[in-house]
Symmetry: C2
Subunit: 308 residues, 2 copies
């Protein structure tokens, strides 16, 4: 197989990381900058366009893949991203096209993770699978028949915003009870604090996913109950996802997933309990195999190599 | 456009209807038989294979499309259909292949309805839409990028079996609280009887969807409340469906949908109320344009003409 190269860019609210990636999934060079330092996207893109030739040192690359919050694949834009300074529509593909004459792809973080899983990870050879990302929010990259599900406008896959509990916890999207308010890092923290409060245990309100994970390892009951509660909600909603998509596998990605079996074992149990008979025992539930790699960059670069 | 012909077969628990359909959606000939008269599928298929040449009177046809409960497109089988006498796996495609040397397609009723909508109905030209069928059960045919969503094993699209209420109404699938237990014809009847009982109104337990529709037309409060309750549940779950698929349109099909705006107006309201901001006002919600035609046969025949 001839070695090919692509640029993968992961735009986050705080940092942006740019990588040179080959088609075997090796990250050959990396640069980063502070997203928040740029009031507008133009100088930000200009800076990246300067960094890329430094990294490639003359190597030809096949394209640029970009994962960004609210990235729209169809339009090549970032649209109304809550976590970025740049408001409204950002014509990302257009801005990069002014510097580079190559294919440029934009998508959101969860979709990039799914493409990464398909090209470099545990979903190689699969035609039907989903990647669920648990982090600041809850996202999903859903692959149907070997292609990402984008829907009519590029915004499909908002699994974090299906409702778990009507009139439940307030969500950043303005509604109530979204899955995200229970299964994101912040949602899990809220659950921990609520359970601790019910039991009269005083806890620092600034605890992290890592703290809860460590507590659970030490058999702390509040932490174990938090994982059980989270696993139940996710297991139930994944059972619904299976009823609709019938995937071969579901991969989990993100900070809270570092808890591994502490979260996955009960999640599997609840997912199986809640599944339709015809799907029971058929669907793999696994931690993303890219979890401890530079998954965001690999995923973005995979947009260039893979089917989209 | 050259006229082409296909055979469409709609296998139901009670009746099976066979039609000769052209590629403009005209039903040119029709036969039927009682599904329940056949203890095994072999004589049933044999009988249909005798009827087909009678109907076509020598016309060439491009293929046979079959819509059946639990029809599996990948395998060409009926698999463990609760409403048929034939248990286990029925090798439908194989049985028909022994009589006819042409492409033979098998799918379930809701998928056939979706293909019918795409080829002959309101979804012509659409790449992303869903058909929701309300009847004895609740089913869905989901089209992604112009193709039916079958998932890894052919059983995707079980929208009727996502859970609306945990520990809710008992479902025929063995679980509790499935959407189907609220939004099927039987579910709507249960709601009507519950509301009537709460109000101390005595009602014949054998009422039908049609009865509730007529009562609602006469401004009966129990009937109107029944539609509102049903519309709220469906509106909420359709909002979730939109968050995942971002379709252009959702079409409704089946007996309860004959109530038209009595059901659709509140359903639209609840769907919009529950949708993520980015989807509001974008997704059409309509009665299937094949509602008053021989939709099941047209849909089955459309399997031959359309993308699948």
């Amino acid at each position: 197989m001839k070695t090919k190269y692509a640029i993968g860019i992961d735009i986050g609210g705080t940092n942006t990381v740019i990588g040179l990636v080959d088609n075997k999934g090796n990250l050959l060079a990396e640069r980063s900058l502070k997203t928040g330092d740029y009031e507008t996207p133009e100088p930000f893109v200009k800076e990246i366009c300067k960094l890329i030739p430094e990294m490639t040192s003359g190597k030809d690359f096949d394209g640029i893949g970009i994962g960004a919050p609210n990235g729209n694949f169809y339009n090549g834009t970032i649209e109304y991203a809550a976590n970025l300074k740049w408001k409204g529509l950002v014509e990302l593909r257009k801005l990069f096209s002014a510097c580079f004459d190559c294919p440029i792809y934009v998508t959101n973080d969860a979709n990039a993770a799914a493409i990464g899983e398909m090209v470099f990870g545990g979903a190689r050879g699969m035609k039907h699978f989903s990647v669920i990302t648990l982090g600041t929010g809850v996202g999903s990259g859903i692959v149907v028949d070997g292609k990402l599900l984008y829907g009519s406008d590029g915004f499909a896959g908002e699994f974090g915003h299906i409702i778990y509990e009507y009139d439940g916890r307030p969500c950043g999207c303005g509604r109530k009870g979204c899955l995200e308010t229970y299964a994101s890092a912040g949602g899990i923290r809220t659950t921990y604090l609520q359970i601790a409060k019910e039991r009269g245990i005083v806890v620092d309100p600034d605890i992290t996913s890592k703290y809860i994970h460590e507590k659970a390892l030490a058999q702390d009951e509040v932490a174990l109950e938090t994982f059980d509660y989270t696993a139940k909600i996710l297991g139930r909603k994944l059972a619904d996802l299976v009823a609709i998509f019938s995937p071969e596998a579901i991969f989990l990605f993100g900070g809270p997933v570092k808890a591994g079996d502490l979260l996955l074992t009960p999640m599997k149990k609840y997912m199986e309990e809640n599944m339709l008979q015809v799907f029971k025992g058929k669907v793999k539930l696994e931690v993303s195999s890219l979890m401890n790699k530079n998954a965001a960059i690999l995923g973005a670069a995979a947009l260039v190599f893979g089917e989209r």
